[in-house]
Symmetry: C2
Subunit: 109 residues, 2 copies
DNA sequence: CCTGTGCGTCAGTGGACGCTAACGTAAGGA
DNA sequence: TCCTTACGTTAGCGTCCACTGACGCACAGG
């Protein structure tokens, strides 16, 4: 999960993921979408994303086609989900506590 | 969202979030949980988490009590969720395509 | 007022990260 | 075989980040 978080922490890499989310694109086409970054930099980003399990690579002649691999974000997604569930759990427990102590309920954000 | 991702990209900061997820703790108690990191470092992490909106701070005398603020992860959570939905969407579209072209359906992982 | 406690903050440092330019490699086409 | 296309890889550089030690500040007690 650590590698996945670090991967999507970079804005350019999130943009790459967005580009290949629904379509399979060759490295060159991906790099062409960025004006302020050179091709080698994109190539390195692709490598990071690939090693984090967020990208799938397929070769076709001299080209390499990339595509998002959403399952790679599964662990991170579950981590956040757990956090969310815990939040509801805490709110529920506090509500019970408030009722029993007769506070009636404070402001809930 | 950028600040939230960067905040949870650091393992120590995720550990801090875990500590104050269900309980409110003073800065000192949080720092005491870490053996290989000094108190100032933790203080800086608390600052990062706070500015990212992932932590709530409350003062009590000389102490500062911290507590997780899960809503701060909302944007990131929705971002991943959208990714997930898109994934299902793509799978659905491909299934349709496969049916029409009579491929029958490949391996769906 | 002085001391102790609980924290935040600042300056400085080592290491990691993103970037570019140059180079290396593999697959066609003439 | 030579050239071109489409990439990845490497060396080097500037910048950012996490960390530590020293210091500053606010609050409580005597």
């Amino acid at each position: 999960m650590q590698s996945a978080i670090e991967a999507i922490a970079e804005p350019h890499r999130r943009e790459i993921l967005r580009l290949v989310r629904a379509a399979e694109l060759p490295a060159g086409a991906i790099a062409a979408h960025f004006e302020d970054v050179t091709r080698p930099a994109i190539s390195q980003h692709l490598r990071v994303l690939r090693e984090a399990g967020l990208l799938r690579e397929r070769r076709d002649g001299t080209r390499r086609l990339y595509r998002a691999r959403p399952e790679g974000l599964g662990d991170l997604r579950r981590y956040l989900e757990q956090f969310w569930d815990e939040r509801l759990e805490v709110l529920r427990r506090e509500a019970e506590h408030d009722e029993r102590s007769g506070h009636g309920g404070g402001n809930r954000n």
